[in-house]
């Protein structure tokens, strides 16, 4: 797997994002697979950001903390991040004053990092541009260093600034000036000689929140109610922007409780509704979760995780809400907890969630993560097709009596019909009730109803698929994980394969209830089974071991510093844990 990582660094708000986007666009045009993510502080401006971009001639979905090449947009960014350049790597920057960076430069030389300082200000001015255009100059210079076709980056810049034709003209001059300014680039060019280009027509670049938003559209979800909260907010933005095409009711509610109540109201009334938030917002929705379970109304909630507690690290990533989602909301009843793994499956997971929620008339809680939400990868367009919709509604009113609505059944599910769609009324009652929804305080009746609602998950689990094994079926070592762990593991499998280590990655999409057959098989293979999980307690590992009633994992890689799993750290973890099982 040929891969190359560029980190673009600078102060937040310094044009870092558009610089990164232009490069990503141009590299895709060049026929490379790309993966990009951005680290940024919870501030509107100020603080330092780092845009990481990996390109490869295979599908790529992870990155490292360290990069092969760093593009420094300003002094502060470079100073903050320059230690991330690998030995023998490159630094391209436009801080022509060079004052105060002597120490840094010395350090870099020691680590054999080659530094290109571009007179970006001067070059920008020379073509009639201003300070804001130094980034474009730097893109030009970088492109030259990469030794790729100028036309590709030129058209990427054109696409980016198409809406500002006047500026575009100067931008193009600045690009050229940067490009022309770099002369000898042989060494860097060589790196890419064995990178193959691919036809990427079947792919598109996508972040996880967009994938989730598309899932809502594909599920024919008619109403979206949410309150802004990082890192879930862009789902609201996407859906609001699209409303003229989708005719979706997209409503920014006044708070999270309102959002989930609007959702439950619309779902009860008979349409599909979705709401996304993050951990703290989810806390506020938990009483309502319990209501949905009680009146057996389908409820789809998305929790895009960030590190807690409290406000925590709003713009960083985590996988730490699992225990919360599994246990929150008072009372005992059925639910499903699922996780998106990347932009690849976001749309499918959401559609699945809607079908499960309607089929079983339960809350389905979908986890995502800041890392999934914001990172961009190439996805197959064909993965964004509508999956068959299963509403499990009773439409004919013949033979219907009110006592059927919450009637007792083997699997806990009773017929649901749209209120006011016929003349057979029922009570959707948040108080304990019996089969037509009328209040009961009777011991036996109450027990029957609690059983009914709790029983669903016992039947539902039988219909869920086992977790999927990626990589090698007959592996030397197995890794178990969920969510974005899949992103890094997809690359890990390939990388370790090259060093002759066959890795099997068992990916859990359904986190509650748990399917254990495949894992049992894997465990019984006698090979090491490892856990890679983004929280401190190893929540998922614990819930597996608690079901298994034995130790399962030979070792755990737990990370909870707000950063995603880096490729190299997972590779290293696995290498140092080969054959630790039963030996």
């Amino acid at each position: 797997m040929n891969r190359y990582q560029i980190n673009i660094v600078g102060e937040s708000g310094s044009g870092l994002l558009s610089t990164g986007e232009i490069l990503v666009d141009a590299l895709m045009e060049a026929g490379y697979f790309v993966f990009a993510d951005r680290e940024f502080p919870s501030l509107i401006k100020g603080g330092y950001s780092c845009f990481s971009l990996v390109f490869s001639d295979e599908m790529v979905s992870s990155y490292n903390e360290s990069c092969d090449l760093m593009l420094g947009l300003d002094k502060q960014g470079m100073q903050e991040f320059n230690e991330r350049i690998v030995e023998g790597g490159y630094l391209v920057h436009g801080y022509e004053r060079l004052s105060g960076i002597a120490d840094m430069t010395k350090d870099l030389l020691k680590r054999d990092v080659k530094v290109y300082d571009i007179e970006s200000r001067k070059l920008a001015k020379s073509v009639g541009g201003n300070v804001l255009m130094t980034n474009v100059v730097l893109i030009g210079s970088l492109w030259k260093l990469l030794g790729l076709d100028y036309g590709l980056v030129e058209s990427a810049v054109k696409r980016k600034f198409a809406s500002k034709p006047k500026l575009l003209e100067i931008d193009l001059l600045a690009l050229r000036a940067g490009y022309d300014d770099v002369k000898s680039v042989d060494k860097l060019k060589k790196i890419f000689e064995n990178f193959n280009e691919s036809n990427l027509d079947e792919y598109t670049l996508m972040d996880g929140n967009k994938s989730v938003a598309l899932g809502a559209v594909l599920a024919d979800c008619k109403t979206y109610y949410a309150y802004p909260m990082s890192p879930s907010s862009s789902i609201l933005t996407y859906l609001a922007d699209w409303s003229p095409q989708t005719n979706m009711m997209v409503k920014q509610a006044e708070d999270e409780i309102t959002a989930v109540q609007l959702n439950i109201g619309s779902s009860y009334a008979g349409t599909r509704a979705m709401t996304a938030t993050s951990g703290g917002g989810f806390d506020l929705m938990t009483e309502s979760l319990s209501l949905a379970a009680m009146i057996e109304v389908p409820l789809v909630l998305v929790d895009v995780q960030r590190p807690g507690p409290a406000t925590g690290l709003p713009t960083w990533t985590a996988q730490a809400d699992l225990d919360l989602l599994t246990n929150a909301g008072h009372g005992e009843y059925s639910r499903v907890v699922m996780s998106v793994s990347s932009a690849d499956d976001g749309a499918a997971v959401i559609q699945d969630a809607f079908n499960l929620a309607e089929k079983w008339q339960i809350p389905v809680l979908v986890m995502s993560e800041k890392f999934i939400a914001d990172s961009k990868k190439l996805v197959l367009k064909s993965d964004f097709e509508q999956i068959e919709i299963d509403r499990n509604l009773t439409s004919s009113s013949e033979d219907l009596v009110s006592q059927m609505r919450y009637g007792l059944s083997e699997n806990g599910v009773s017929p649901r019909w749209i209120p006011a769609s016929n003349s057979v009324p029922y009570y959707a009652n948040g108080d304990e009730h019996f089969i037509d929804g009328r209040l009961t305080e009777d011991a036996k009746k109450s027990e029957l109803m609690i059983d009914k609602r709790a029983r669903k998950v016992e039947y539902l689990v039988k219909e869920l698929p086992e977790p999927e094994l990626f990589g090698e079926e007959d592996a030397d070592v197995y890794v178990v994980g969920f969510g974005s762990t899949k992103l890094v593991m997809d690359d890990v499998v390939k990388v370790l394969d090259k060093s002759g280590v066959r890795v099997g990655y068992l990916h859990y999409k359904y986190l509650y209830p748990l399917k254990l057959d495949k894992l049992t098989e894997v465990y019984q293979s006698g090979k090491s089974v490892l856990l890679v999980e983004g929280n401190r307690a190893g929540q998922f590992g614990k819930s597996i071991e608690s079901e298994f009633k034995r130790d399962v994992f030979a070792s755990r890689l737990l990370k909870y510093d707000g950063r995603p799993f880096y490729l190299d750290e997972v590779v290293e973890f696995i290498e140092s844990n080969l054959n630790t099982h039963g030996k």
Partner: protein, 297 residues
């Protein structure tokens, strides 16, 4: 889907409870309110397929399964967004929400603020009995200052809220008041509210003989002042409304206190490229045609 065997076994275990009894204290104002609401529904010729009743938790909410209608009984304080969600999904149906003063002015007062602001086209009945009935008579935000209640044994110490003044500060489209002692007046106001195309706010001063000894029906009867009988009262003038609602002690104004015909209700305001949500029935749209997202990729 329903397991007939289990259904019939349940049948044996315990009666199906098709008969019900009302469970309010005798002379509770909720009887009158329920009566008036039923009358209004009948007089407006609304049937089972035309109405969804949404209830909060409180004494009033205990009526949710004592009526032959589709009802939903949500959480304490949360009925307004629940009802707005129902209406949005199915605008064809009249949505009538009810809640107590505890629910409306304390636990869920944020929802009242934004229901008025959004002008959700639903009717809302606030059962204001000036206490928390169901939890055995604690003070609410409308309990008049100084009155003794459960958990305020030495009298409440802060000012009560003036509900109508509060709502009038939020650019409402319809504000009315009535009281539980006059079924006819309530019926009349409810009918007007049902026909209002926006958020129809109705405050009912409700008798609670068990916990509220201070302002029973007779108290309001003595102070009842119908604005319809006031020659110069213009219910489109917010300043007149603001002035008149200030008095909660001597002449308590009742009737439709304020109406703003200019306000655009939420479903109309949310139209997408000229297409109003009023013409939609989103309960039927799901899965009705294949969705193509290629233009969004």
């Amino acid at each position: 889907m329903v397991n007939k065997k289990l259904l019939s076994c349940a049948d044996k275990i315990c009666d199906l409870g098709v008969e019900w009894k009302t469970t309010w204290c005798s002379n509770c104002g909720n009887y009158g309110i329920q009566n008036a609401l039923n009358r209004a529904i009948v007089l407006e010729d609304l049937g089972l397929e035309d109405v969804i009743l949404c209830y909060d938790v409180g004494c009033n909410g205990n009526g949710s399964d004592k009526v032959d209608m589709f009802t939903v009984h949500g959480l304490h304080g949360r009925v307004l967004p629940l009802a707005a969600g129902v209406k949005t999904a199915n605008p064809r149906v009249k949505v009538i929400a009810s809640a107590g003063d505890g629910a409306t002015m304390s636990e869920g007062v944020n929802h009242l603020v934004h229901a008025v602001r959004n002008d959700y086209p639903i009717m809302f009945i606030l059962h204001n009995n000036e206490n928390y009935g169901l939890t055995t008579g604690q003070a609410s935000a409308t309990t008049r200052k100084g009155i003794e209640r459960n958990a305020s044994p030495y009298g409440t110490v802060v000012d009560e809220l003036n509900v109508c003044q509060f709502v009038l500060s939020l650019k409402p489209s319809f504000v009315a008041r009535t009281y539980s002692g006059r079924v006819e007046h309530m019926t009349d106001i409810f009918r007007k509210a049902m026909n209002h195309n926006g958020f129809a706010f109705v405050e009912v001063m409700q008798a609670c003989p068990t916990y509220n000894k201070e302002t029973p029906d007779e108290w309001y009867e003595q102070r009842f002042t119908d604005v319809i009988d006031m020659k110069d009262y213009d219910c489109n003038d917010i300043w007149q409304a603001r002035k008149i609602v200030e008095d909660m002690d001597i002449d308590v104004a009742m009737g439709v206190l304020y109406e703003n015909p200019e306000k655009t209700d939420f479903l109309s305001a949310s139209e997408i490229e000229g297409m109003s949500f009023w013409n939609r029935d989103m309960t039927k749209e799901v899965g009705a045609k294949r969705v193509d997202v290629s233009s969004l990729l």
